[in-house]
Amino acid sequence: MITCNLYFFKLMKQATYYVNGKKHAVVVGEHELLSDVIRNKIGLTGTKEGCSQGSCGACTVLVNNEAVLSCITPALRYDGANITTIEGVATAEGLHRLQEKFVEKGAVQCGFCTPGMVITALDFIKHNPNPSVDEIKMALSGNLCRCTGYKKIIEAVSEYVKESQPNNHNQPVAAIPLPETKQRSVGVGRPYIEAAKKVQGIADYADDYQIKDALHVKFLRSIYPHAKIDQIDTEAASRVEGVRYIATGKELPVTFGVLPISQDETAMAIEKTRYVGEIVAAVAADSEEIAEAACKLIKVKYTPIKEFLTISDSINDIGPNEKIHEYGKFNNNIHKKAELRFGDQQQGLKDADVVSKMSFGFEGINHGFTEPHAASAYWDENGLTIITATQVTHYLQRALAKTMEVPLSRVRVIKPYVGGGFGGKGDPFPHEIIISHIARKTRKPVKVCLTREEVFLTNHGRHPSKMTISLGADNDGFLKVLDADIAIDGGAYGSFGVVTSYYNGVLLQAPYKLDNFGFKTIRVYTNKPQCGAMRGHGAVNSRFAVESLIDDIAHRINMDPVALRMKNFLDSNTLTVGHYRITSNGSRESIQKVAEQSGWEDKHGKLEYGHGLGVGCGFFISGSALPIIWNELPQSTVHLKVDFDGRVLVTSGANDIGQGSDTMLAIIVAEVLGISMDNIFVIGADTLLTPVDLGSYSSRVTFMAGNAAKNAAENLKTEIAEAISKKKEIPANELNFSDDRIFSHDKLVDLSWMEAIDILTANRGAVSVSGKYISPKLGGDFKGSGAGLSPSYSFGACVAEVNVNIKTGHVKLLNVWGAHDCGKALNPLAVEGQLEGSWHMGIGQAMSEEMRYYNGLLVNNNFLDYKIPTSLDTPDIHTNIIETIDPEGPFGAKECGEGALHPVIPAIANAIYDAVGIRITNLPIKSEDVLELIKNKTPTLKGATI
């Protein structure tokens, strides 16, 4: 059955390629693919590989001036051809105008899809120089983007096209327009500081690092969901020429996990495997191909044991069978029970005039970041260095120190450019630990890049969940009680699951006033890839349920769903029933904005059958107030260094994964110091160079790292002011910092930035300062009170418009109007990008995305079968930023990267109710379910009343 094309059977040929005008004579394998040749032989790593099967478009290059998907093109087909990669698009004069447009419009976020998008668009425009917007959407429909929701990409291409028309007399602007006269940094929309690098394909992502003499690792993965490992025979594999090391689980016995209370995973399965796809052995070899071939020669003897694949399998007593983990005193596979109650839910339900109670089901979903996990590790006199696609350098440093059994000071984690995370790069991962181990054993650098299938198996995505929720209100529409009974399917390991368990419940206590509120969540282990944190962590599914129930109650008491919500919103500066401190709160402004913009009053309940409008709201934490690992470090520390050259170096452990946090830090520092962005340089997320920041999770970076940067910049400002004060004999508080100058009120002292820096550094040299953020003490004095505590919360609302085909059940999403209270948009262009990306991801979960399993085996483990919406499946998105100026956020800012996702999914479902009168209780919304519900429509379905 297993055929094995060992490398020594492979012939090679010499081939010549003229890439970006330069001749490359390379030796190519007979069946080698063009993407491999371009990336690994020619070294032009701007061409990305996201799926290896032509489903994502990231690998697009021009061959003889025509676009080609290089990952499914035999390299020898184009021996002698002219190839243009993304690196060849810009010229000595600068970026191509289309690249400039991508930069200028904020079409570049993580940047991983960008090279393919740019090449695809250029090719398309060449053939169709004056396309309509719909034609542009069509042209880009084979290029997946997970960050932008395509909106800004389509805008960039449209604007480029418009400006390129022969009758366009507006001279193209040569450079990106900069803020006008009075120099401001905060509140001015600007591209990411690294956008030009990304749009040219010269930003290095984890797999782009070519480390000399590196070994390549491939994994052997379990084919059983739950099985004892009786024997691993590596003999034949080890004899393959080019194999340098084979590692098995016993060599890495130390457990790890992102949460201190869930250290339940080892890098490879040791005694038994807990899911299909768990790593059982790792082969390091001279090439990926050799490692892969050798993996196939490893023989593992398993004894399968009873597997548990569903919530109901795992929640019950398991009889004589073996538990997935020993953990827990009961004979079941329950991992965590979380329960909190405030007020009296039973009484509340009795007292309510109207109660809506429904049960909901949600499939698991995956982050779908376009860049697969990849990493390189090596050891030298400084200990371990790992360059890896991570969003939590700090926690990875800890996990590596623990599993490698070395002091923290011997671990350096470097985050390169990262092609999206969305929570999916937020745990320490087995592959990172394994390559570190093999690098130590072999004393060679070791490299790994997961296939897309492996990325799906690694998962850590949103938990499949089931829940029954009761919501009661009085006849005036005031919500009185909420009781939620939730079960979530955690898969084989803990990951962030304890937090997820709480978030499913606690994050229902806002944005509405509720006196009687309670929930119980049970998280179970199952024999499937583990679930963890994903954008909107924990509360997306339960938010969907509650917003559906509210819609139901509104219909039953004949009240407009917008009006009902307006009655119930919490105020600003108040406490929730569970003691969350709400400060700024833009709920009302958000819902009013989307209601007004969508024409809600004229349309809701008034459109023809099949056409409807729905609304949903949401809120989210702006950073967890408590660190994952309890200690007294600040949540964020930022260092600034300024030297004689006037440049301010910002170092921060915050992980920019495409959301723009490096740019955010630069903006804040520039604003405080009144200097231009050109004077600022950011180094992010390198645990040797940068001070600790806990990482990019819980939407904490703008608030926490932003505040730390602001604090640091203020400290530097004080240092500068004091130096000038002393030198010029003027009170420090009379000095102003603006427009690259430092001047007194009367302008008698008026220094350029460089003059000021000369004074600062005289007889002292470079000056370094530090800033920090520590969350205030918050919350109640009860067990579980820490869950969901945040120094600030974001709020938002969405209205969706749908057409439902009543014959096919197909739902066409026409429009999404969204508004999100981000406190203050430090960089409005970036904020819009975050919001649009959030809504797009929510649309995916609503309409098409699910992880489908068959006997514990993930069926749709690729970008063809896992249905991320393409540009053609994405509706028109109307973006609104609501600013409420948070009292504690940096310049009033709070999160915008996750919370926006919450309202969009229920808005879609509620729109379907408005269109055809059916209540969606399962995600994704499948045409066949919609059709069935339409056919079986009965009064009870209009809300499944009790």
Binding site: I2, H31, I72, I223, Y224, N861
Partner: protein, 310 residues
């Protein structure tokens, strides 16, 4: 162990055929490769000799000979629209071609390749590791069909979108092999066996697709798929009506081969629909359930008849 990997790019059909016959047991022809190379990546298609036929210029033309339209098998899907005669005589073919995969794939994928596209199944189009984990199915040398929970037949879906339109318009194909040229009706190459869905000799090259120009066809094309781009079909229907009142229903995505039902405008559509449903062996090997695809098949056909016979 397999033989040495080789890659050969012949310039003529004759040369390609010669090479194929030299590597008779272990080669495959690659045109655009958008299907074959993905299957190769997943280990579904193992062959040591790749014969890249994209250099065969003779297969890239579209021409009219008498009352026949000849479409070279290597004409790429996105090039079809450049030919006015297709737009005039067979607009449904352009629609079908446009609904295949994504714009970028259509720039590489050829019409011949689309017709010969390998059958698909959720349990087959997977990596080798995955198929080992699930227990190999019939289509990869296993004993039973997994999608049906153990049947002894393979129900992998026929997924070409252009073939149903072509068959509905009475397309013939020209096959060239070492022993000469054969012209046969397109629909006769599909076996209905999901394991080996086509009966043409491995060495034969599909050279041309021949469409009759002496008929006037009205063809309604419909496709069901989860997303508006990229996805393979879950159900494709093409229903043709010619000037003589002949009706031909061709359905893809619901059986290992295109399901064909013929009739006339005088017949009762419902009878044809029932016949089509009865002939379709739909199983749960797709994004959509078997039940829903059957339901949509009926709907698509009803709608197609409405559009054709109004």
């Amino acid at each position: 162990m397999t033989a040495e990997k080789t890659y050969i790019k012949p310039a003529t059909v004759t040369e390609a055929l010669r090479i194929a016959n030299e590597h008779s047991n272990d080669f495959c022809y690659v045109a655009g490769g958008t299907d074959i190379l993905v299957n190769k990546y997943q280990g579904n298609k193992e062959c040591s000799c790749l014969i890249d036929i994209t250099g065969l210029a003779e297969l890239k033309t579209i021409s009219i000979a008498g009352d026949q339209l000849k479409i070279g098998a290597l004409v790429r899907l996105d090039e079809l629209k450049k030919h006015e005669v297709i737009a005039i005589k067979f607009p449904a073919l352009l629609i079908a071609a446009q609904e295949v995969a994504s714009p970028m794939l259509r720039k590489t994928a050829t019409i011949g390749g689309n017709i010969l596209c390998e059958n698909r199944c959720s349990f087959y189009n997977q990596s080798e590791w995955w198929r080992e984990a699930i227990g190999y199915c019939l289509k990869c040398d296993g004993d039973v069909c997994i999608a049906t929970g153990g049947k002894k037949a393979c129900f992998s879906k026929f997924v070409s979108d252009t073939a149903p339109v072509l068959i509905s318009a009475g397309a013939m194909i020209e096959l060239q092999d070492i022993d000469g040229v054969k012209i046969i009706p397109l629909e006769t190459i599909y076996t209905g066996d999901g394991v080996k869905p086509r009966n043409i000799p491995d060495t034969a090259i599909l050279t041309n697709i021949i469409l009759p120009l002496n008929h006037d066809f009205n063809i309604v094309f419909k496709k069901l798929r989860p997303r508006e781009a990229v996805d393979f079909t879950s159900l494709t229907t093409a229903v043709s009506l010619n000037e003589k009142g002949d009706i031909k229903i061709v359905i893809g995505g619901v059986d290992p081969k295109p399901v064909v039902v013929e009739g006339t405008a005088k017949g009762i559509p419902e009878d044809y629909i029932k016949k089509a449903l009865a002939k379709s062996r739909v199983v749960d090997n797709d994004f959509y359930s078997r039940k829903y695809r059957r339901e949509m098949m009926r709907l698509f056909l009803e709608q197609s008849f409405e559009e054709l016979l109004k």
